[in-house]
Amino acid sequence: MIDRIERLGRATLDVIGAIGRAGLFLVQSIFCLPSREGFYLWIRQMHFVGVMSVAIVLVSGVFIGMVLALQGFTILVEFGADEALGQMVALSLVRELAPVVAALLFAGRAGSALTAEIGLMKATEQLTSMEMIGVDPLRRIVAPRLWAGFVSLPILTVIFGVVGIWGGHLVGVDWLGVYDGSYWSNMQDSVDFVDDVLNGMVKSLVFGLVVTWIAVFQGYDLVPTSEGISRATTRTVVYASLAVLGLDFVLTALMFGDFG
């Protein structure tokens, strides 16, 4: 019994310690002064983190939009409200699915790659040797990646939303025969730019920061062995996905849960 309590206490302390380390890590790396060189490093990471994730986001966005239209149509047509399809597709995409699904895909595609990359640098002593040369790895390695993730995810989310709405149009209008004009006009009547689109953007900014933060921290903090890298990569995907889903609930409650 005592043993169990002791173990619980130690685990709690470990978790609190890790959160503290992660927080310090974020603060130290995010406030790095931008320089000319830093800008090129950032561009490079934008390529690896953002541009390389476009393909998966495009494909998933189209399919999610198509499925939404198909499912939505079968439900709405029962109430004779099938012209509200555009509204349903756009609202669910812009508010929820685009930020969340894009963040989950991002965690799987870019997050795991970031963890593995930084972990490998740590395991091959690149981080230590950089420090010995007199360059802060937080500044040179971590900061450009953090900023790239923070900027990339909202862009990916927008792309996801746009192709999703297009996919919904493809199925709803071109295939199932919803009138094109009511698809768009219903959408325009119900979607509000600030309440829906910008709130979705705020979500994806938060997700971008959190997912990249978890990914680079897991890479920086891992045990530098091959087993450690594979474990940290898994942890990145699991923690980042849970964080995205949990935060999504909190943010949704704050933004749309105006029950007053």
Partner: protein, 153 residues
């Protein structure tokens, strides 16, 4: 650090796609107007019951969209709903002041909107005018109740 044109181009396109996408979401999806803000005029109407009418609902005349609802408030004087709507400036001075406003439903359970019916008065509606002839929303429960009590007679 060597620069890589190809890489920069890719990132540039990526960010451009993001901005264009946001513009698309703004204009096409949320229907934000790009025109000058004063190309509409505002009228208000009081309804006994607005049912499920929401902000941004469309305002139509003969089924054609002419404007949208901008705000819905409770009028503390009469305890009815004061609905403010923006009508396209094209119709400023062309709708008579006895125009009727009704809250209609698209489909059986669809979205609610306002339908305007023109009147015959020589005086016209202007910015800030009030529509007096209003018809409240049909509430399904009330209809059913009416139907049931009629049956009982």
């Amino acid at each position: 650090m060597k620069r890589n044109r190809f890489l920069e181009l890719g990132v540039g396109l990526f960010m451009l796609a993001g901005i264009l996408g946001l513009v698309f979401l703004g204009l096409r999806v949320s229907g934000l107007g790009v025109g000058v803000p004063n190309d509409t005029f505002t009228v208000t109407a009081n309804f006994a019951n607005i049912g499920g009418l929401r902000q941004n609902a469309k305002v139509t005349m003969s089924g054609v969209r002419v404007g949208k609802v901008t705000s819905i408030q409770l009028d503390p004087k009469w305890f009815d709903a004061k609905v403010t709507m923006e009508i396209d400036a094209d119709y400023d001075g062309k709708l008579s002041d006895d125009t009727a406003a009704a809250i209609l439903t698209s489909g059986l359970l669809g979205e609610q909107y306002i339908g305007l019916t023109p009147g015959g008065s020589p005086d016209m509606l202007h910015d800030g005018s009030v529509i007096h002839d209003t018809q409240q929303a049909l509430v399904l429960e009330e209809l059913i109740q009416q139907f049931v009590s009629n049956m009982a007679k």
